[in-house]
């Protein structure tokens, strides 16, 4: 994507988020001038960006909202739910445009046809747009003419003077945010020419220290394309794989004189460095939870309005940071829990009154760091979860037998809501209960390597907690089908995938081998290695490839050797978060870990070296 367009997208999205947050805040505190100014600026900057991109439709709709907000600022227009909706609608339209630009890599061609959003600006808007008196506008116009003159020796002087005049006029008429924008530009201008403006005869200017800092201090943060960071993360991952290989070789060398000793020392250092690098790299990939939290006030407002249950959302700890992968994956699960809370947790108005609770329910969305974990809590002040109702539903849906139900400890009952197909909604609303339930929430959180906890206080509310890891290391795996099952193999362990005719397999002693790139490598059947039933008539399964073609993954067998693993067929490549095996399976040889796939199934990820070693199907160094 062209850099200009990319920057436009990044900036516009940030501004849309900012404006959304401001507007929602304004709805509750319409008199907050600072927030109003901030919203106004966001639209103003959006308009400017659209203008630079020559994106007329967006410039026009943002301009209309800008006028509207100007009228609000001038006191000529009331800020109410209607006005806020009008502004939000404009932001929605912009988001649609931005999505399309991102998808199509170009400005939408038919955007012109889109209706201007704030299509009926109140008459007051025009009045506010000309809140600047005519003579002030004349002065501002003159400054534009001054700036537009062809550059000569006086260019920067004119630019600075014109900038100052604009700033002064605007701030004189209370356009403080705009004046501040110009001030910033002036400071940049000053900083740009700072080295050239120290005449030896003039004493050092007596500028306040703080201002000098502002002008000369280097930026403390950089805006980096996420793809670049992902590249670094991936490279680090590969480096760690290489490090693991080195560690392995060093171990096999063991005590072969000094060489082994030196290499071991080096390997240890290498180990430490790569671990540190990984941590540092992953730390660059963190985002504040705010990124996901800030989307909810708006959504909650809509859900609450639709269900006619007034709800106040309190957000705490949005500055808490977590791995980008996690922050970006949290939206769906949090949204679902919020929907549940409003739909099922929070009582209808009459019931709340009877229970002496405030008519407006409150939901707290909280983020915090707890050691190596990031905790996200969604807490409502509703009615809690009724274990009897849960049990009844589970029985009715035949998710549990009456016998099992009778024996179920009280503490376990609530966990029934995590079962697929469970929903306590009496009627299917369009908000929740659309087939995805708490089981989907749990699957999503577990896919991130986290856990979901449920805590209900009958009569006073429910808290759902997500316990998540701070950083996530994704492993790229290739899925393989063997013995009627699907397995994963870390892609770093796979040297090659080949298709070869059955007659290329050579009997070697009691085993088999193939010759690949001039090397003889052991040939093994993955289903046999894993002790799975053999699928008969493999070749027939895939008639298109000929009568007797076999699929094999060429994998690292340790010690720099390779081995060929015959599989039924290859699947796809996935980025997964590997979880080590737990409990009885913890010591299982040949297994690197497991992961949950997108469809909620468990995928066992194999560790080929280990598998080959434990099978005794010797490679050179066994």
């Amino acid at each position: 994507m062209n850099e200009f367009l990319e920057q436009f997208l990044i900036e516009s999205r940030e501004l849309v988020e900012q404006a959304t947050a401001d507007l929602l805040a304004l709805e509750h505190a319409p008199e907050n001038r600072a927030v109003l100014d901030s919203a106004f600026r966001a639209f103003h900057t959006l308009k400017g960006a659209a203008g630079i991109m020559d994106f007329t439709a967006m410039a026009r709709s943002t301009h209309a909202v800008e006028d509207l907000l100007a009228a609000v600022r001038a006191g000529a227009q009331e800020l109410n739910a209607g006005t806020v909706n009008q502004c939000l609608a404009c932001l929605d339209q912009i988001t649609i445009w931005l999505d399309r630009i991102e998808a199509e890599d170009a400005l939408p061609e038919d955007a012109e046809a889109a209706p201007p959003v704030a299509n009926e600006p109140p008459p007051a808007a025009t009045q506010a747009a000309s809140a600047l008196p005519a003579d002030a506008i004349e002065v501002l116009r003159e400054q534009l003419a001054l700036i537009a003159l062809p550059p000569d020796a006086g260019f920067f002087g004119r630019l600075g003077a014109a900038g100052k005049v604009c700033r002064n006029v605007l701030s004189h008429f209370d356009y403080h945010p705009e004046a501040a924008d110009i001030e910033t530009a002036l400071n940049l201008l000053k900083a740009a020419f700072a080295p050239a403006e120290v005449p030896p005869t003039t004493p050092a200017p007596t500028t306040p220290a703080a201002e000098a800092d502002a002008a000369s201090a280097p930026a403390r943060s950089l805006r980096v394309d996420v793809a670049r960071i992902e590249d670094i993360v991936n490279l680090t991952g590969e480096l760690i794989v290489a490090k693991n290989a080195l560690t392995h070789i060093v171990q096999t060398l063991d005590n072969q004189q000094n060489l082994g000793h030196d290499l071991q020392a080096l390997s240890t250092r290498f180990n430490r460095l790569t671990t540190g690098l990984l941590r540092a790299v992953l730390a660059t990939r963190v985002l504040p939870l705010q990124r996901v939290f800030q989307r909810f006030p708006r959504l909650l407002r809509e859900i609450a309005t639709r269900l006619d249950k007034p709800v106040r959302l309190v957000i705490i700890g949005e500055a808490t940071e977590a791995d980008k992968v996690i922050v970006e994956a949290l939206f769906e699960p949090i949204l679902h829990v919020l929907r549940n809370a409003i739909d099922h947790g929070i009582e209808p108005g009459a019931q709340r009154l009877a229970a002496a609770k405030p008519a407006t329910a409150s939901i707290t969305l909280r983020g915090r760091r707890d050691g190596d974990q990031v905790v996200v809590e969604i807490e409502d002040d509703g009615n809690g979860i009724d274990p009897a109702a849960i049990l009844e539903t589970a029985l009715r849906r035949r998710l549990i037998t009456p016998d099992a139900a009778a024996q179920l400890p009280e503490a376990e009952i609530l966990n029934l809501i995590f079962l697929p197909g469970f929903s306590t909604a009496r009627e299917v609303s369009d908000i929740s209960g659309r087939g995805v339930g708490m089981d989907a929430v749990r699957a999503a959180v577990e896919r991130l390597g986290g856990r979901v906890l449920l805590h209900s206080r009958p009569g006073t509310g429910t808290t759902v907690s997500f316990l998540l890891p701070f950083t996530v290391m994704m492993t790229r795996v290739l899925t393989l089908h063997a013995g009627g099952q699907v397995f994963g193999v870390p892609l770093d362990e796979v040297a090659e995938t080949v298709k070869l005719p059955a007659d290329r397999i050579l009997p070697v002693g009691g085993t088999e081998a193939i010759i690949l790139h001039g090397r003889t490598i052991p040939f093994l059947r993955l289903d046999q290695l894993l002790g799975l039933p053999q699928q008969l008539g493999l070749a027939a399964e895939n008639p298109a490839t000929g009568s007797d073609m076999l699929n094999a993954a060429i994998v690292q067998a340790g010690g720099g050797e390779l081995a060929a693993l015959q599989v039924d067929r290859f699947g796809s490549q996935l980025d997964v978060i590997l979880k080590p095996m737990e409990g009885l399976l913890a010591g299982m040889p040949g297994v690197a870990g497991s992961t949950l796939t997108g469809d909620g199934r468990v995928l066992i990820v194999l560790e080929p070296r280990d598998l080959l070693r434990s099978s005794g199907s010797g490679h050179a160094n066994a």
Binding site: D135, A136, V139, E142, Q143, A145, L146, L149, A153, G154, F155, F156, G157, R158, L159, G160, A161, A162, G163, K164, V165, R167, N168, V169, S171, H172, A179, E183, L186, N187, L189, K190, F193, A196, E197, V198, P199, T201, T202, P205, T206, T207, P208, E211
Partner: protein, 131 residues
């Protein structure tokens, strides 16, 4: 703000300077210079927030003064300038703009007009705080 804005009046006619001073003195600190050269000297010794410049002056006229000024180091070069002159033909206005004038008023100027434009152009920012 922290202090009163300082205005430098550059005009060779003492009556004009006095007239401006009387109008502006209650709200601004006033400096005077008789021509462009004198103005440049004064500017090097102390910063001002706004220049009020006549065009037709001996030694160094208003337009030469502004041209020289705008090409100086940024702090001095970017002082806003209000040109007040009897010359008001379109060509004169264009010449003033080309020299770097921020706005032009035609002589004679009414007290309230002068006060209004000067106030707008100065706002409330102390000199020397920006380029």
């Amino acid at each position: 703000m922290s202090r009163t804005q300082r205005i430098l009046i550059v005009d060779d006619a003492s009556l004009v300077r006095l007239y401006y001073r009387n109008i502006l003195a209650p709200r601004f600190e006033i400096e005077e210079a008789l021509n462009g050269l004198e103005a440049l000297e004064k500017l090097h010794s102390q910063p001002v927030d706004l220049l009020i410049v006549d065009i037709n002056m001996p030694k160094m006229d208003g337009l030469s003064f502004l041209k020289t000024l705008r090409a100086l180091p940024a702090d001095i070069a970017s002082i806003p300038a209000l040109v007040i002159s009897t010359e008001a033909a379109p060509a004169d206005l264009a010449a003033a703009r080309q020299a770097g004038a921020n706005f032009h008023l035609r002589k004679p100027v009414q007290p309230e007009t002068l006060l209004r434009y000067v106030t707008m152009l100065c706002a409330a920012t102390p000199a020397g705080s920006t380029p």
